[in-house]
């Protein structure tokens, strides 16, 4: 609806513009301030947010200056104090034949200003929150920086909470976000290049990297992919992620995303490239290795034994969450002999008088869990309590007591659900492969599950991110190659960067005086 309306509006404006023969893309300003004022009104017709403030000359009463800006996007204190005030306090004699150079150099007190003589530049500047000053007799206008957008304050991102380490998170303003990274990387080596995406949204996007660490081929590849994007609007970084990713149909991520400046900084330091998109706190990073799914920023802030243990738990959870239901069905329905006898008897007792076949039961319960999880995310928080009562009591206890479903399947679903929540970056992969393996297991037993796992493995091993294999094949078991895969090596052992990403390999030149290792 939104897109349709804006399209229509644009057409109307185009017609009007045609009637007074103005082409916004190429036409320049005229000498006459009245003419410019008329043109501005035509361009921003039906756009009541535009504020124009004429300043007439004292003697003749003719229009001398015209200020134009978008209400809400500007900081009015700046406009009042630094633009209007000096113009009004200007000596009337001086005012009379005041050139634009004098204004720039002696009158206007604005940190960033630009001269413009094209309408296209002026329109863009107004839409971005700048103030335009038209001057009588000049075929140029001044673009004055007066941006004053309301933004959210910096807070800890809800999606990536940690116990220890930096707590700040990105906000929706790209400039704030870039400043947060710049504050951590005080080097001229840090490059930030701006692009604009979206025919209508004109979203500012910044490609950020450390010049001496980045792999130039990957950077070129990224630019090539970004250039090909032509979309009418970009509201979140995921718009770009899905268009520049390598394996477009894969449920696995091939581009990382985070809301934490410390994570982005760490990735830049490993030679990766970050892409900031205005209007979203989510910053994307590339290239992306498979293991990054299991890494957490906290791993690097906690003791390495504990960090390694939690990382292994995360991998284990991912495996458990996709294969446990499948294995349960396969064993119960096809390979009962595999169960130890007492366990077998108690499972059979649980299944007694349950009307549904085990496979159907598992499908229903897994989908029920997914519904509950989704409801939990979508419902307002004050309804959450009712949800948990319904979920835990009705579905958990009552259904088992009424013998509609068996108790073991509840345990299986609970294990699957909890382990699934541990690796949030793999959500889409986890749910797709969970149901896929479950289908394999219900149809063909363990053979089916094995075939299913093989298919997944073949897929995972073929994943690429900007030409780099996501599953890094290790050349040797040398510690430097495996230090940050399944375990998180201690910092004094982290001598090299991930070797497939950056050509500049050494990151730790001296680790202090410990020589005993």
């Amino acid at each position: 609806m939104f897109g349709f309306n804006s399209k229509k509006k644009q057409e109307v404006i185009d017609k009007k513009l045609k009637s007074i023969q103005i082409d916004v893309n190429s036409d320049v300003l005229s000498n006459s301030i009245e003419e410019n004022s008329e043109t501005l009104k035509v361009i921003f017709k039906d756009n009541d947010v535009l504020v124009t403030r004429p300043i007439n000359s004292e003697k003749k009463g003719e229009l001398t200056y015209l200020i134009a800006y978008m209400d809400g996007l500007v900081n009015s204190i700046i406009i009042n104090d630094s633009i209007i005030k000096p113009l009004m306090l200007l000596d009337p004699d001086k005012q009379k034949n005041c050139s634009i150079d004098t204004l720039v150099n002696q009158v206007i007190m604005i940190n960033e200003l630009k001269r413009a003589d094209k309408w296209s530049e002026i329109i863009e500047a107004i839409n971005y929150g700048d103030t335009i000053l038209f001057v009588n007799g000049a075929n140029e206008a001044l673009i004055l920086n007066s941006k004053g957008l309301q933004t959210r304050s910096i807070s800890e991102p809800d999606s990536e909470k940690i116990l220890s380490g930096p707590r700040e998170g990105f906000s929706e303003s790209i400039i704030t976000n870039l400043s947060m990274v710049r504050r951590k990387l005080r080097t001229n080596d840090l490059k930030m290049k701006f692009f604009t995406f979206g025919e209508r949204t004109k979203t500012k996007t910044c490609v950020c990297y450390i010049d001496s660490l980045v792999n130039q081929n990957i950077l070129k590849d990224l630019y090539k992919r970004l250039e090909k994007i032509d979309i009418d609007g970009v509201l979140d970084s995921n718009y770009i992620t899905e268009m520049i990713t390598d394996c477009r149909w894969s449920p696995f991520e091939s581009i990382g995303s985070t809301e934490r400046p410390d994570v982005v900084t760490a990735k830049l330091l490993e030679g990766r490239i970050a892409i900031f998109v205005d209007g979203t706190p989510v910053v994307i990073t590339a290239p992306y290795l498979f293991i990054e799914n299991f890494q957490s920023s906290e791993d690097y802030y906690l003791n390495f034994y504990y960090a390694s243990f939690s990382r292994i738990l995360r991998m284990l959870s991912f495996i458990i969450t996709i294969i446990v239901p499948a294995y349960y069905i396969a064993i119960i329905a096809f390979h009962k002999e595999m169960l130890p006898t007492p366990f077998f008897i108690s499972v059979t007792m649980g299944r007694e008088t349950v009307p549904l076949p085990t496979a159907v039961e598992a499908f229903i319960m897994l989908i029920t869990f997914d519904i509950l999880r989704e409801t939990g995310i979508r419902t307002p928080s004050n309804v959450g309590q009712a949800l948990s009562i319904v979920g835990a009591l009705v579905i958990g206890q009552a259904a088992v007591e009424a013998k509609l479903i068996s108790a073991p399947i509840i345990i299986i679903v609970a294990i699957t659900g909890i382990t699934g929540l541990l690796v949030p970056k793999m959500n889409s992969a986890a749910f797709i492969f969970r149901y896929f393996l479950l289908a394999c297991g219900s149809l063909m037993g363990l053979e089916g599950v094995t075939i299913g796992i093989s298919i997944i493995l073949v897929h995972v091993l073929n994943l690429k991110s900007f030409g780099i294999s996501q599953f890094v094949v290790m050349k040797s078991l040398h510690f430097q190659e495996i230090k940050d895969i399944a375990i998180r090596g201690p910092w004094w052992k982290m001598i090299t960067r991930p070797n497939t990403i950056s050509d500049n390999k050494v990151r730790l030149k001296s680790s202090g005086e410990n020589k005993d290792d």
Partner: protein, 378 residues
Amino acid sequence: MIKKLLCLCLIIVMTLSLSGCWDYLSLNDIEIVAGVAIDKDQTNGEYNLSFEVLDLEDSSKDSGVKTKLIDSTGTTIFDAVRNAKKRLAKKLYFGAAQIIVISEYIAKNDGVNSVIDFFIRDTEIRETIKIVVSQEKSAKEILMSDYTDSKIISYQISTIIEKDENVTLSTVNTDLYQIYDTLNNQGISLTLAAFENTLQDDKTITESNGSAIFKKDKLVGYLSAKETEYYLFVVDKVKGGIIDFGNIDDDIEKLSLEIDSSKTKLSFSYVDNQIKMLIEPTVKVYLGEIFGETIKADNERMEEVQDITSKILAERISDVIQKVQTEYQTDVFGFGNCIFKSDPKLWDKISENWDSMFVDVKFEVKPKMIIQNTGLIK
């Protein structure tokens, strides 16, 4: 492209239907068999099978799993298993069965081979299922006995046999695959666990009662629980338990030693057409119980007790071997197998006459008792 996709679909459908593992069997459709008792009608030669089946519908979480017996008859064992379906809505499931009880009559007259054949060929049955000889009139009586600690008699029997070599040393633990192995091996005969019912108060309780001795696959007699203990020393299957020595001299009225570990070395010599077996058990023990003099760790009598008990053990083992040689004439100790393994050429020569030779085989038992500690602090 579409052709390729169609081919792929076809292949998947074919592999789905042609793979031999299409046996989705819901747990609701099975009747779990815990054990089977096999009897034979002596008049018409039909097999009477009794299945101990878990009665899950009648069981609750508090009272535990109850069982029920289901009988069926048939001309062969397979036939009888199939005939049981006439009385049952569900399919009998043998994957969790742990015991097969066979009657004395079948063991003596038909032999074990005729019974185990079906169970070895059937895919569902575990190879570790145990076979027990009933000393009662029928095999069913064993499964009909009252329970002591487990309501499932079959599992109770199976656990008794399994733990035996660690604790009581009164019977033998033989799995189905070992029976098949022994019957097809050279120079060794089969032994199986024997069970009988006894009365305790008003309840009939089944308990292990020594071992059944076989010649080829036919039952020839029994070893008592005590004799079985020394038989186990010869075949090196002792893992724990105690040896009761009784009164060994003036100072010690009664003595029990607890076995820590035991290892038996079996070797032979062939001189003048005469085989002589050498049996050397090394038994590490603790002092378990003593009546009379208290032996301390530093006591000099320790070595003396070691010598005396070694001699007593040697005598008792010899008695058992002699009994088997004279009464049953069957090589349950695997003497022939020992020769076959270490000197196949010699075995080729003597194997034909081994049955008659076994009776005259000379043997020497040289046990070594090592008392590791007295169980008391100095």
